[in-house]
C-alpha cells in the first residue's frame, strides 16, 4: 500500500470511529429530548414509576458491563445500591438537611461503596482464587449488608427501614429529568467506552484472561477498577432512589434484588447495553402496573421467560428483535475496510540487557514438584541473546512445565529464574512480561471473537495505553511482528474475526501478538503442532531470523527432531525432569542417549553399542 493511500485510509479509519461516536451523541441528544418531553406526555403515575425504573436501569447497565462484557457474574450490585440509599436516608433522618450534609452523605456513600467494591476485588481476584469466587462473594455481600441493616435497631430502622425523612424539595418532573438524563448519558458513555480500543479489553478478559495476563495486562487490577466504578454509579443511583422515594428498606440491598438485576440484564440481552436498559424499564414498569392485579402471574411469566432465554436464547430478547431491523438497515461491518487501523512500524526500542551483559535467561537449581511427584529437578540452564535453544524429550519429561516456570514466578517449587539478570521472584505472569518474557502457548491462545487488529492492539496495550473512547486509526507494531504478518498474509486479514482464521493463521497471530510485546526472551511451546509442512517451514524460517537478526533469545519446545535440527543453535534434552544432554545440534542428534530415550529403552542401548 502506498504512503498516500495509507494516509487516506488512516483518515477514513479515524473518521469511521468518530462518525460512530457522533452518531451515538446524536442519538443521545434525541434521548435527552425525549426525557425532557416525557413528563408532559405521560400521566403522573407512570412518570413516578419510570423514575424508579430509570434508576434501576442505570444499575442494570453496570451489571451488563461487569457480566455481559467482562464475564464477572455478580449477584451483589444491590448491596451498593443499598449503601447509596442508606447514605441518603440515614443522613437525612438523623441530621438536618443542609446542602453540606447532602453532599457529604452523597460522597460518603460513594466512598463506602467504592471501598467495599475494592475489598470484593481484592478477595475475588487474588492469585489462584477460583473464577467462580467472585460470584460467591457477591452473593454473600448483600446477605451481610442486609443483616447489618437489620441489626441497626432504630438507627437503621431494622427490618422496616426508614421513611418520611426530610428530603430534597424537587418536583416529580425534576426527578424524572435527573434520572432520565443520567441514564441517557451513562448509556452513551458506556457505548462509546465498550466500542473503544480499551473497551475491547473487557471482552478479551471475558474470553481469555490467561492470554491477557501473558500480554502483560494486570487483569485483576482492571477488574477491581471496574467493580469500583460500577459500585460508585450504583451507589449514586441508590442515593437518588432514597432521595426520591423518601423510603429506605433492607430489601434494597438484598440478594433478591441483586438476582433480579441479573435477570433483567439476561432478558434484555447481556453484552448489548441497550438490551439491559430496555429490559429493566419494561419489566419494572409492567411489574408496577400488574402488581395490583396479577402480581404472582407476572413474576411467574418473568421466571419462565428467564429460563427460556437462558436455555434457548442466551443472547437475550433485544438482539433477536433488533436483528431483523439491523439486517435491513446496516451495511455489513468493515466490508470495505472501513474502521480498520493502518499498520505502522513502531520505533525500535533499545533491547533490555542485563547489567553485566550476561545471559538473557538463566535458571539455577530450578525444581517443580506436585505433592511428592518431582516434575523438574536441579535444572541449570542459561541462554543468551541470539540463541535458539530447543528443548526436546519424551512426553512427561517436564518441557512445558519448564516453560511455565520461566513465565510465572508462582510456578516453581525451588531454585531461581533470572531474566536479563533480574530475579523474577514470585511475580505473576503479567509482571514477568515486563522483564522481557514473551510466551506462546502450545495450542493457539488468542481471542476468538475479536478481530486480528484488535488482538494485536491488546498485545500493544502495555506499550500504548488504548484509548477509552475511540478506535485509533493506526497500529504501530515492531518489525518482527510485522514480518510475521507479512510472511503469513495476516496483514491482509486485519478485519477478520479470529474464529474464522485457519489453525495455522491463529498460530501465526499468536506469535505476532507475542512479538508485539517486544520480548527479549521468547518461549515457544510446540509452535508448529498441527501445521502443514509449508506453514512449518515458514514459521521455522521466521524463528531463525528472529534469533539471528533481532537478537532474540528463543527457547523452543518441540517434538519434531527434523524441525529442531533445521533451526536450532543448541539442543537441550530433558528426561524425567532432568537435563540429560545439552549440546550442539550435531552432538545431540548423533547421540546414542537420544536414541535410547526415544526408541526402546535397554534394547536400543544394546543396539547402539553393537
Amino acid at each position: 500500500m502506498s504512503e498516500a493511500a495509507a494516509g487516506g485510509a488512516a483518515v477514513a479509519a479515524r473518521s469511521g470511529s468518530t462518525r460512530e461516536i457522533k452518531r451515538v451523541l446524536r442519538l443521545a441528544l434525541v434521548g435527552l429530548a425525549a426525557v425532557a418531553a416525557a413528563p408532559y406526555l405521560l400521566d403522573t403515575y407512570t412518570v413516578n414509576i419510570l423514575i424508579r425504573s430509570l434508576l434501576y436501569a442505570c444499575v442494570a447497565l453496570t451489571v451488563d458491563i461487569l457480566w455481559g462484557y467482562t464475564g464477572i457474574l455478580t449477584f451483589g450490585q444491590s448491596a451498593f445500591f443499598g449503601i447509596g440509599a442508606y447514605a441518603c436516608g440515614l443522613a437525612f433522618s438523623h441530621l438536618d438537611l443542609t446542602p453540606t450534609v447532602a453532599i457529604l452523605a452523597f460522597l460518603g456513600g460513594l466512598a463506602v461503596a467504592a471501598a467495599v467494591a475494592a475489598l470484593v476485588g481484592w478477595l475475588a481476584f487474588g492469585y489462584g482464587v477460583s473464577p467462580i469466587y467472585v460470584s460467591v462473594v457477591t452473593l454473600v455481600l448483600p446477605i451481610v449488608v442486609t443483616q447489618i441493616l437489620f441489626s441497626g435497631g432504630t438507627f437503621t430502622g431494622s427490618s422496616s427501614g426508614l421513611s418520611g425523612f426530610d428530603t430534597f424539595d424537587l418536583s416529580i418532573e425534576a426527578w424524572f429529568w435527573i434520572a432520565g438524563s443520567a441514564l441517557v448519558i451513562l448509556t452513551a458513555a458506556a457505548w462509546i467506552f465498550v466500542h473503544s480500543d480499551a473497551g475491547r479489553l473487557l471482552v478479551a478478559i471475558r474470553e481469555n484472561e490467561q492470554r491477557c495476563e501473558y500480554l502483560g495486562i494486570d487483569t485483576a487490577l482492571l477488574k477491581t477498577l471496574l467493580l469500583v466504578a460500577a459500585a460508585i454509579i450504583t451507589a449514586a443511583a441508590g442515593y437518588a432512589y432514597a432521595g426520591f422515594t423518601d423510603v429506605i428498606a433492607p430489601e434494597l440491598a438484598g440478594f433478591v434484588f441483586g438476582t433480579e438485576l441479573v435477570i433483567w440484564v439476561a432478558l434484555g440481552g447481556r453484552g448489548t447495553l441497550i438490551g439491559p436498559v430496555a429490559g429493566t424499564i419494561v419489566i419494572d414498569l409492567v411489574s408496577a402496573y400488574l402488581s395490583g392485579s396479577l402480581p404472582f402471574v407476572w413474576k411467574l411469566v418473568i421466571g419462565l421467560a428467564f429460563v427460556v432465554v437462558i436455555v434457548a436464547l442466551p443472547q437475550g430478547l433485544v438482539p433477536v428483535v433488533g436483528g431483523a431491523w439491523r439486517r435491513l438497515r446496516r451495511r455489513p461491518a468493515s466490508a470495505n475496510g472501513d474502521g480498520l487501523p493502518i499498520l505502522q512500524a513502531a520505533p525500535p526500542r533499545p533491547r533490555l540487557v542485563g547489567a553485566d551483559g550476561g545471559p538473557a535467561v538463566a535458571l539455577h537449581g530450578l525444581s517443580r514438584r506436585y505433592g511428592s511427584l518431582r516434575v523438574l529437578e536441579g535444572i541449570d540452564l542459561a541462554a543468551g541473546a541470539g540463541e535458539l535453544v530447543s528443548l526436546v524429550g519424551p512426553n512427561g519429561a517436564g518441557k512445558t512445565t519448564l516453560i511455565r516456570c520461566i513465565a510465572d514466578g508462582h510456578e516453581r517449587s525451588g531454585g531461581r529464574v533470572l531474566v536479563q539478570g533480574t530475579d523474577i521472584g514470585r511475580r505473576a505472569p503479567q509482571r514477568c512480561v515486563g522483564f522481557g518474557i514473551g510466551r506462546k502457548f502450545q495450542t493457539a491462545n488468542v481471542f476468538e471473537t475479536l478481530t486480528v487488529a484488535e488482538c494485536l492492539r491488546l498485545a500493544r496495550a502495555r506499550r500504548e495505553r488504548p484509548s477509552p473512547w475511540r478506535r485509533e486509526a493506526s497500529l504501530a507494531l515492531p518489525q518482527a511482528a510485522l514480518q510475521v504478518m507479512a510472511a503469513t498474509g495476516l496483514d491482509r486479514q486485519l478485519g477478520t474475526a479470529v474464529k474464522h482464521l485457519s489453525h495455522g493463521m491463529k498460530q501465526a497471530l499468536e506469535l505476532a501478538m507475542v512479538l508485539a510485546l517486544e520480548p527479549s526472551v521468547l518461549l515457544l511451546d510446540e509452535p508448529t503442532a498441527g501445521l502443514t509442512k509449508a506453514e512449518r517451514s515458514l514459521i521455522g524460517g521466521i524463528l531463525s531470523g528472529l534469533a539471528r537478526d533481532h537478537g532474540l533469545c528463543i527457547l523452543l519446545v518441540e517434538h519434531d527432531l527434523d524441525f529442531v535440527r533445521e533451526i536450532s543453535s543448541r539442543i537441550v534434552v530433558l528426561h524425567q525432569g532432568r537435563i540429560v544432554l545439552d549440546g550442539t545440534v550435531a552432538e545431540v542428534i548423533g547421540s546414542a542417549l537420544v536414541r535410547t530415550i526415544y526408541a526402546g529403552e535397554e534394547h536400543a542401548i544394546a543396539g547402539a553399542a553393537g
Binding site: G128, S135, V140, Q147, G303, V307
Partner: protein
C-alpha cells in the same frame, strides 16, 4: 452445656440433610442447582398436602421424595441437559426455576405462612436435658441418610458407576458407562433428596413459598467448602453449623445467621478446596 452440644449436633444434622441433594448433583454434574431451594419448598408443601388430607404425617416423606424425583427428572431433561457446557448459565436457569416454583406455589397455596403436623411431638430426656424429640430424630435421619448414600455409592453397581463419573467422566464413558444416564439419575435423586429434606425440616418451623431461599444459600456455601465428598460435608456441617450455634448463643442471632456464609467465604478464599482433601 449439654443443651448446646445437642443444638450443635442437631443443627449439623439438619444442614447435612438439606445440603446432601445439592452436593451429589454438584459432585457428578459439576453444576450448582439453584432450584434446590425450590425443591425444598416443594417438599414442604408436599408435607402440607399430607397434613391437609389428614393422612399419617410419616407419609409426607415418601410423597415429598416422589414429587421431587418426578419434577427433578423433567427439569434435568428440559432445562439442565442443554446447559452442561455452560455451568454459569445452569446456575441462572435453575435460579429461574426456583422463581417459577415459588410463584406456582404462591398461586396454588397462597403466600401466607402455614403449619405442618409433626410426626413426632414432645420432648425426650437426653444428657440430662429435656430436648425436642423431632430434632433428635433428625440426627438419626441424617445418619441414616449418610449410611444409605454410602451404601449406594460404595455397595452397588450404580454407585460405582457414579463414582467413576465423578472421578473421570471421560474414562468412564470409554468403559461403557452412559454418563448422560448417570447425570439424569443423579439430578433426579438429588431433587428427590431436596424435597425429602424440605418435608423433614417443615415440622421445625412452617412453610411459605420462599422458605427454600435461606436454606439454599447456606447449603450452597456448605457444598462449596465440601467439594464432592459426603464425608467433607459431614465435617463442614459440624464445624460451620457448630460455629453458627455458638455465635448465635454468645454473640447475636444476626451474627449467627451470617456465620456459615461468611466463614465459608473466608475458608474458600484461603483454601479453595475447603474441607475436601485435594
Amino acid at each position: 452445656m449439654s443443651a448446646q452440644f445437642l443444638d450443635i449436633v442437631t443443627t449439623a444434622a439438619i444442614f447435612y440433610v438439606v445440603a446432601a441433594g445439592l452436593l451429589i448433583i454438584f459432585g457428578v454434574m459439576k453444576i450448582i442447582n439453584f432450584a434446590h431451594g425450590g425443591f425444598l419448598t416443594i417438599g414442604g408443601y408436599a408435607a402440607l398436602i399430607v397434613t391437609q388430607l389428614g393422612l399419617d404425617p410419616w407419609l409426607a416423606l415418601p410423597f415429598a421424595a416422589l414429587v421431587g424425583l418426578v419434577i427433578g427428572a423433567l427439569v434435568e431433561r428440559f432445562v439442565v441437559r442443554p446447559l452442561y457446557a455452560r455451568p454459569l448459565d445452569a446456575i441462572l436457569a435453575t435460579w429461574g426455576l426456583g422463581i417459577i416454583i415459588g410463584q406456582l406455589i404462591t398461586i396454588g397455596f397462597g403466600r401466607e405462612v402455614q403449619f405442618v403436623q409433626s410426626p413426632v411431638q414432645g420432648a425426650a430426656l437426653v444428657l440430662g436435658e429435656s430436648y425436642s424429640q423431632y430434632r433428635l430424630l433428625l440426627v438419626l435421619g441424617a445418619l441414616l441418610l449418610a449410611a444409605l448414600l454410602a451404601a449406594v455409592l460404595h455397595g452397588t453397581r450404580l454407585g460405582l458407576m457414579t463414582r467413576a463419573v465423578i472421578m473421570n467422566e471421560s474414562l468412564a464413558r470409554g468403559l461403557g458407562i452412559n454418563s448422560g444416564l448417570v447425570r439424569f439419575a443423579t439430578f433426579s435423586l438429588g431433587s428427590a433428596l431436596a424435597s425429602l429434606a424440605g418435608a423433614l425440616i417443615t415440622p421445625l418451623s412452617s412453610v411459605d413459598p420462599n422458605m427454600g431461599v435461606p436454606w439454599l444459600v447456606n447449603a450452597f456455601m456448605l457444598v462449596l467448602v465440601s467439594g464432592a465428598s459426603l464425608v467433607s460435608l459431614g465435617v463442614a456441617t459440624l464445624v460451620l453449623g457448630g460455629a453458627q450455634v455458638l455465635i448465635s448463643a454468645y454473640g447475636s442471632p444476626i451474627l449467627g445467621s451470617l456465620t456459615i456464609v461468611v466463614l465459608a467465604a473466608v475458608i474458600l478464599r484461603i483454601r479453595p478446596q475447603g474441607f475436601a482433601r485435594e
